[in-house]
């Protein structure tokens, strides 16, 4: 009788250990939630830009301007020209720019009204024009300088991966129009999507990785050079951008 009790209690003990182990695993899973959340999102939109295929034609800039009636002097998406070296050792490359839809967006964490937010369903970061007060704090926080105040509405705007198009199954306007197919847009959660394949197989880079924002716009063959980088090498570098200040921050 006593032995039986012991056996049962042993069984219980084993059961309890099992439950404990399950709990421990669960706890570990919770602690790793931040990382898991990326995968758990139903859709994980991202863009890959193959700069080797970009000819700097600005079709994307124009398509974007047209799509959103972006006022003169401000840009949701633009192309930078990077020119460097001294003849005959020179290079010129193109760097299409847009919002990086970061995994850890600084713009979202500083927004005092909650007007700018990262969508839980697909990770797109957007600004609610009915809530934004135009305080420009997000413009200070963005390391990529992709935000601007629309002079007509006074609210802050930026690239939203063409939210109105992608939710209807269309590609963003810039991707749709890209002549060299340099811009590729898709869902990273789908292993068969072109973006997922490119990110997995190509040597992709992101802009200003050291800021820790974890961008969702990846570049292939991008020249990240600017005046600061090559000052030490004594190289001539000129970056033509289309920001109002005509200069990268």
């Amino acid at each position: 009788m006593k032995a039986t009790t012991t056996t049962i209690s042993r069984r219980e003990l084993v059961g309890k250990i099992g439950k404990g182990a399950t709990l421990a695993v669960a706890a570990t899973a919770v602690s790793g939630q931040a990382k898991a959340a990326i995968a758990q999102r139903p859709v994980h939109y991202a863009m890959v830009i193959d700069t080797r295929k970009c000819s700097g034609c600005h079709a994307c800039s124009i398509a974007c301007k047209t799509e959103f009636e972006v006022p003169l002097g401000v840009h949701r998406s633009w192309v930078e020209y990077v020119e460097k070296g001294t003849y005959p050792n020179v290079s010129r490359s193109f760097l299409p720019r847009l919002c990086n839809h970061c995994e850890e967006p600084d713009c979202v964490s500083v927004c005092p009204t909650g007007a700018t937010y990262k969508r839980k369903e697909d990770g797109i970061i957007t600004v609610d024009p009915e809530i934004c007060i135009g305080c420009k704090y997000c413009m200070q926080a963005c390391p990529y300088d992709v935000r601007f105040v629309n002079p007509n509405t006074g609210t802050v705007q930026k690239c939203d991966f063409c939210l109105h198009r992608v939710t209807k199954g269309l590609e963003p306007a810039c991707v749709n129009t890209c002549q060299g197919r340099a811009r590729v847009f898709g869902d990273l959660n789908d292993p068969n999507s072109e973006v997922a394949k490119l990110v997995a197989t190509e040597p992709v880079t992101v802009l200003r990785q050291e800021m820790g924002t974890k961008p969702n716009v990846f570049y292939i063959g991008a020249d990240h050079a600017d005046e600061n980088d090559l000052r030490v090498a004594g190289q001539y570098v000129r970056v033509d951008t289309h920001r109002p200040a005509l200069e990268r921050r």
Binding site: D106, C135, Q140, R208, P244
Partner: protein, 329 residues
């Protein structure tokens, strides 16, 4: 040339909010501690001037940042009435954004400072009059509120890694000390402008006035020395790193675009000059117990340069932060 998304209205706001928050804090501590000598009612005039001063710069400064809002500017440009009051959205929510928390703290601070000033409004205000209890309660509330407002301005700028010049905890400390120092200067200025005239007629009260003047001047010397220390640490910690912060700080170091403005306007005119003048009058009293008497004109000049220095500090910091950025891309 870089775009300055935050321009003069924000610079003016950071300065004025600092003066107001500093004046409220100094007034409240003086009321509660009676100028550290523990005798209730001492230095009541300082508490009164600080209380009457505080709401004004707080309200004017807050009005100024509303001008900087994109929606307000669009409202003016397009005549859209609905956009004028878009800033109300700040008070429909609260989140972990330093600006959100700051707006609420600022709002509460303005309300408290207005009521606090009201308790001092009558010229017959005495330490033991009818408003005594309300006044002391608001003084207790005012110290944390004033310090929070002064600190939050630095935290707000410091919270963005994309602005390496701002992204340091020293900035919040620097702004706090500068707020207290400019708050003291504001009180001294009010006293110099309004109290001296009354006491010249009263004759006897001059000693009391000079005693409280001595207390303010000595506090100011300490605060300015602390501020100089904060500036040294601010520069050291940026300069001693490698990369973004080090590159950014070079804009105020010799050869940088804002070096003259910083060393000339902030350090020499705004801090070193006033502290030297104050020491000239404070040291004889401190060492030899001679009666303290700073001429009224000198007092006004000292306050003016301290306030100028406080403004220049905000100007240089706000401009430098936006003119510099992370290196590379």
């Amino acid at each position: 040339m870089q775009e300055l998304h935050w321009g003069l209205p924000v610079i003016g706001y950071l300065f004025l909010a600092g003066v107001g928050a500093g004046a409220y804090t100094v007034s409240a501590t003086t009321l509660l501690r009676a100028g550290a000598n523990g005798r209730q009612g001492d230095n009541f005039d300082i508490a009164r001037y600080g209380a009457l001063l505080a709401p004004l710069p707080l309200i004017v400064g807050t009005g100024m940042i509303i001008f900087e809002l994109g929606t307000f500017q669009a409202a003016v440009a397009n005549g859209d009435i609905g956009l004028f009051f878009r800033w109300i959205n700040l008070f429909l929510t609260i989140n972990m954004s330093p600006m959100s928390i700051g707006s609420w703290v600022l709002g509460v601070c303005i309300l408290a400072s207005v009521v606090y000033a009201y308790t001092f409004l009558s010229e017959k205000s005495r330490p033991d009059d009818d408003n005594k209890d309300l006044r002391r309660k608001l003084a207790w509330v005012g110290i944390p509120l004033g310090i929070s407002v002064a600190i939050y301005t630095g935290v707000m700028l410091g919270a963005v890694p994309a602005r390496p010049f701002w992204n340091t905890p020293m900035l919040a400390l620097l702004f706090l000390v500068s707020s207290l120092s400019t708050g003291v200067a504001g009180i001294l200025l009010l006293r110099a402008l309004f109290a001296h005239g009354q006491d010249a007629q009263a004759g006897e009260a001059t000693t009391d006035l000079d005693n409280s003047g001595y207390m303010l001047a000595t506090s100011d010397v300490k605060l300015i020395c602390l501020e100089l220390l904060a500036i040294v640490l601010f520069i050291l910690f940026a300069k001693l790193t490698v990369g973004n912060a080090s590159e950014a700080i070079s804009i105020i170091l010799p050869g940088g675009a804002l070096a003259t403005m910083f060393w000339g306007g902030v350090v020499v005119i705004g801090l070193v000059l006033p502290v030297l003048i104050e020491l000239k009058y404070v040291i004889p009293t401190l060492r030899n117990q001679q009666p303290y008497a700073m001429p009224r004109g000198t007092e006004i000049a000292v306050c003016a340069v301290i306030l100028f220095g406080g403004f220049m500090l905000r100007y240089v910091v706000v401009a430098a932060g936006q003119m510099t950025g992370p290196m590379g891309l």
